[in-house]
Symmetry: C2
Subunit: 204 residues, 2 copies
């Protein structure tokens, strides 16, 4: 029994390929698309093609960008003595939103994971080391590497792996703090976070 005409069924299938979108959600999106103007749908389709066409990986820091090197790597306003290492390009946004970090970035595009078979070679790490060499006269020598991988097993493993590689170079390596999230409640915090929050206590 043909339930949907072919173009509808095909778009439902296309939407279902996207993360977190199941059959029901895909249907809902298609019927929303059908109610939209031709211009709106063309604008969405165009954006999809454009993002794929124009966005590349920065050859310096691996950020997703439409210019290479990217905005951060070329900006004269950024502190070139600090590099913050993150797992994914969108993690960079979380840090930028604080408006307190003014250094550079290095994006790994992943984290070490024996379960998901992600090995050091699968991370975009090799282009970090040329950035740390003092003989590169175009940049101020890097003084600190902040490892901002996620506070998960995989993120921690990645952080330690990278720290062990960088420390011998005589560069300071730091790790973002773990503890209670601001605005959270002791009643609802998990025991691992609580344990970290206790261990990392400081004088007030």
């Amino acid at each position: 029994m043909l339930e949907y005409s072919e173009p509808i069924a095909k778009l439902i299938d296309e939407f279902k390929k996207l993360p977190g979108i199941g059959q029901k959600n895909a249907q809902r999106l298609v019927f929303f698309i059908l109610r939209k103007s031709k211009e709106d749908v063309e604008s969405l389709a165009k954006s999809l093609l454009e993002v794929k066409e124009k966005i590349k990986i920065c050859s310096v820091c691996n950020n997703l960008t439409d210019i290479d090197p990217c905005f951060y790597c070329t900006s004269p306003d950024r502190d070139r003595s600090v590099i913050c290492i993150v797992e994914e390009p969108y993690n960079l946004v979380a840090i930028e939103k604080t408006r307190s970090y003014k250094g550079l970035y290095h994006i790994l595009h992943g984290a070490l994971s024996p379960i998901r078979r992600i090995k050091p070679d699968d991370l975009k790490l090799s282009n970090l080391f040329p950035r740390l060499k003092p003989e590169n006269n175009q940049m101020i020598t890097v003084k600190e590497i902040i490892i901002a991988t996620n506070p998960t097993t995989e993120g921690e493993a990645t952080a330690h792996y990278i720290a062990n590689l960088i420390k011998p170079l005589g560069i300071r390596v730091t790790r973002i703090a773990t503890g209670m999230p601001v605005g959270s409640d002791l009643e609802f915090v998990d025991e691992v976070t609580m344990d970290k929050a206790l261990a990392n206590r400081h004088e007030i």
Copy 2:
């Protein structure tokens, strides 16, 4: 501060226009799109444009279709003496999935709602009445109208409004049953449904 390069920011904005997709989800979708092959993204963009280009509203029953009249209206296998009225095109799919209904459909593309200012004229109802006329020799006279609008205030109001228009024509008008969903638990059912389930009890 420029956080995302322009094509990424634009696609995030486009995704955010879709129902149920907020900033975080839109970001996630964009980074998923960026990891996909060019062919996959082109296929999605093409489907979007195709659905908009090819899908029309059936002139007989208001179903969304790429042929007019639609599959159901032209099928020789459907029982032309029954018309099932639903609110939205996707409601038709819920009924088709039962595989027990073999009649025709009429899609209203909405339900009466004073709050959302949806009046009888806003429903696609006017083309229902020519379908009910016995002088139309091309079809067997309609013997029953099943009103399958949602069991909500708006759906019930719409059902009663339509029933009052059709009954004077001497056609049987029925309404889908309300009660406990199959496989549900009395513990979790709301009181209105429970009340309906009690009121609509039948001999076993």
